[in-house]
Amino acid sequence: MPELDELESRLDALVEGDFQRGLEVFRSKLKEAEASYLNSCVHCGLCASSCHYHRADATLENVPAHKLDVIAAVFKRNFTAMGRVAPGLVGARTFDREMAKAWVDAVFGRCSLCGRCSINCTIGIAMPRIFRAARAALGAMGLTPSDLQATVDNSLQHGNNMAITQEDWVETVQWIEEELQMEVDDPEAKLPLDKKGAKILFTVNPREPKFFPLSLQASAKVFWAAKEDWTLSSDPGWDLTNYGLFNCKDDEAGAITQNLVDAMERLGCKTLVIGECGHGYGAARWEGPEWLQKSYPFEIKSILELMDDYLREGRIHVDPSKNTVPVTLHDPCNLVRHGGICEAQRRVLRKSVTTFTEMTPNRAENFCCGGGGGQLSMARYKNRRIQSGGVKAGQIKDTGAKIVVAPCHNCIDQLMELNKEYKLNVQIKTVAEMVADAIVTTA
């Protein structure tokens, strides 16, 4: 495990200045709300069962309150009077190498920032806000796992997180356009590139052109059926992903968000539509304006909301009898719990399939699939990721569904691994793929 050794050696090489820098960054990320959270935990431990890591492996280290406590201990020692006067009494700890290691393990290794513990905390501590501050501090100390950082670096250097060249992207779009034209038997069906003044700029996860072109084709089919005025961007503004949400370096996250803003300005579009990607939606919709410290001069929507609009307004028509295989729906944490998009995808699916069964629990109480928080990119924690995903696998099995719809390409990657590991024997699709299959073109 070279990555493991590398992180260990970086931990070993920490000097006093690193800890100081980490603390300064940590402090800079705390506002009134976070300071309140850090003063609130009563160690009741009831949050344990809310965490998919703890459900899969019931150890102390997986209790959300313990993860929080690792961070709070340092906060108390450095930013509270009692932590300085009586550290032993209140559980305050000096920020040293051992604690830095504990931070890395807690916030990178045992948390997908899903926020289920927040909803279930008896007090109401929004723990991911604290864990994000801790990740930022560790980043300032050079302790971001290098594969997670590499994903961010790809976006910064290549304009997308999979380092797809512009030539490859454009060729893929053209190829998908030909496929769409054949599918719908319409030579005018287009995947417009750089269409200035289009109403909508549509953004996608690079996994779509790279591995799942049918997802992009499905979205394009929906736009075609709705006669939408839309475009893709040929420059870096086509990639909706932003792993800056996970390495928590706001300057890098802001630079990636700026790609979207620049594309919107360059093309003069009215609405930025985020494709099916949980973290991409969370990053662009909610965190982007905060990273840039300014409001967007344009509207931003999820494609799920857009498809919901199309169906309600009668711009597209679907025949659910085209999708008769039992379907269940996965709720990506950044889209649903943290994103507030709970019902649109349900309305769309109910109209597009004959048998839709909810997982239990669902919506804001959903379980993370295990792939969130950048876990998919951190190879060193793969075993934990797959193990913690067992909770989601169990939920899927219980529904008896044969298709799992997941409006998130990161989740889809994780679900595909879970499908194999836990022998779920299901297909995994996006919402747009289900809608595209059900579209009635002669209506």
Binding site: K31, E32, A33, A35, S36, Y37, N39, S40, C41, V42, H43, G45, L46, C47, A48, S49, S50, A58, T59, L60, V63, A65, H66, D69, M82, G88, L89, V90, G91, S118, N120, C121, T122, I123, G124, I125, R129, R285, W286, P289, E290, L292, Q293, K294, S295, Y296, I300, R337, G339, G340, I341, C342, E343, R346, T360, N362, R363, A364, E365, N366
Partner: protein, 206 residues
């Protein structure tokens, strides 16, 4: 003794006010994203339906602990109520006294059960620091002494002294959550309310 309690209460109020002020000093986050919902409605939900046992899976899975915790809190608040009345020289009507006795006794039992749970359960023990035990013991003893005082009035000095100690300790340890519970819950509700997650539309456990 009454002066000691009064001085302790003033200390608690001032110390809590200082803690609140210090927390406020971290500053408010200016938000630039367009809200999808209402922070106010989210906060309202967080303090009402969002606190119902059935709204939290963590509570439903740990009902005995939840019940013990609720009894514990009710007992400590009842004991404080009794202490205020005792300091002011009021006597409770018999039926109210019986209610206070039930609350304080159940509170002491609840507190003790949580204390034992914290010692016995390895995971909870691992999560605990000395403050967790001190805070519990001071509060449990306060509720228990309040109950005993209703039966044996000569215990008043001991009870008030313990109450003073509890008041002095409150801002020092985790009992400060009597303040931060409200600010934390507000921030949680406002956060999820702004994002349109609170109040939830559908049934998450359907």
């Amino acid at each position: 003794m009454r002066l000691l309690v009064l001085a302790s209460a003033i200390w608690t109020i001032l110390a809590m006010a200082f803690l609140h002020h210090k927390t406020k000093g971290f500053g408010k986050r200016t938000l630039f994203s367009k809200p999808a919902g209402s922070p106010r409605k989210g906060a309202l939900y967080a303090f009402t339906r969002g606190m119902a046992p059935w709204a939290k899976e963590s509570v439903m899975l740990n009902l005995p602990s939840y019940v013990a915790g609720m009894a514990f809190h009710a007992g400590v608040f009842s004991a404080f109520g009794l202490m205020c009345l005792a300091l002011l020289g009021f006597e409770l009507p018999f039926f109210l006294l019986v209610i206070a006795q039930v609350f304080t006794l159940l509170g002491a039992i609840g507190g003790l059960s949580l204390f034992v749970k914290r010692i016995v359960k390895a995971e909870l023990r691992g999560l605990s620091c000395p403050d967790d035990f001190v805070s519990n013991l001071l509060s449990t003893a306060f509720a228990l002494l309040a109950f005993l005082w209703t039966l044996v009035p000569s215990m008043e000095s001991l009870w008030l002294a313990e109450g003073a100690l509890l008041l002095i300790y409150a801002p020092i340890g985790k009992i400060r959550h009597c303040l931060f519970f409200f600010t934390t819950r507000y921030h949680l509700g406002a956060f999820f309310g702004r994002r349109g997650t609170f109040p939830p539309e559908g049934n998450s456990h359907a």
